[in-house]
């Protein structure tokens, strides 16, 4: 079963614009992570936010977590064509490395 639900399912923006993706989940979590996948290949870890954190930054990425609403958002600033990919949120309910992924968001960045 897939706990995470990303929103929107697809997003198309112009290069240089910001991209905001949302994720909701159902059960309590130890941490929430975002991954990127290019063309059905392996996933690349982007950022991890723990349940006791509210916001985290990494380069052009900013992730927020609201445990009361069971939701997270990923902001990619100043997007580039190379950011075109599928983005997944994944939740880890306990410290056991078992991740539950959402269905993903397809981001297209037009040059």
């Amino acid at each position: 079963s897939q706990q995470g639900e990303e929103d929107p399912q697809a997003l198309s923006i112009q290069e240089g614009e910001n991209a905001t993706m949302n994720c909701s989940y159902k059960t309590s979590i130890n941490n929430l992570q975002w991954y990127r996948q290019n063309s059905g290949r392996g996933l690349v870890h982007l950022i991890l936010i723990r349940s006791n954190e509210r916001e985290k930054h990494s380069g052009r990425l900013r992730v927020t977590l609201d445990t009361s609403k069971k939701s997270s958002s990923l902001l990619i600033t100043a997007s580039r064509a190379a950011d075109t990919a599928s983005y997944f949120c994944a939740t880890e309910p306990g410290a056991n490395s078992k991740l539950t992924f959402g269905k993903g968001i397809t981001l297209s960045v037009r040059p």
Binding site: R41, N96, K98, L99
Partner: protein, 113 residues
């Protein structure tokens, strides 16, 4: 340093056959997990192994089995293949269990005809 390596990259099988997929984790990583990703969906957890012991199993039938070897590499076996087993099978490793961040291989694309 080499990342997570999986073999083969592509595989075509017929219904009823069995398949073995292989994974080598990043050097020093002791935890290996397997995920199944059907087209258009997110990855689904199949197994996790840590220090050669099964530490977690997802909602998959007994036709799916796995093991981890002393060098921490791993195999995923699927018996009596069904058309619905067609998917991208991803292996991921981490240094220890419970550290959160996973390093994924490029996957094995399995097609069952």
């Amino acid at each position: 340093d080499a990342g997570v390596t999986q073999s083969p990259t592509h595989l075509i099988k017929t219904r009823g056959q069995h398949v073995t997929l292989r994974c080598s984790p990043i050097s020093g990583h002791k935890s290996v997990s397997w995920y199944q990703q059907v087209l258009g969906q997110g990855p689904q957890f199949i197994f996790q192994y840590y220090e050669k012991e099964e530490r977690g199993r997802g909602n998959f039938p007994d036709r799916f089995s796995a093991r981890q070897f002393p060098n921490y590499s791993s195999e995923l076996n699927v018996n009596a293949l069904l058309l619905g087993d067609s998917a991208l099978y991803l292996c991921a490793s981490s240094l220890e269990q419970g550290l959160g961040k996973l390093f994924f291989g490029s996957g094995t694309q399995l097609s069952v005809l």
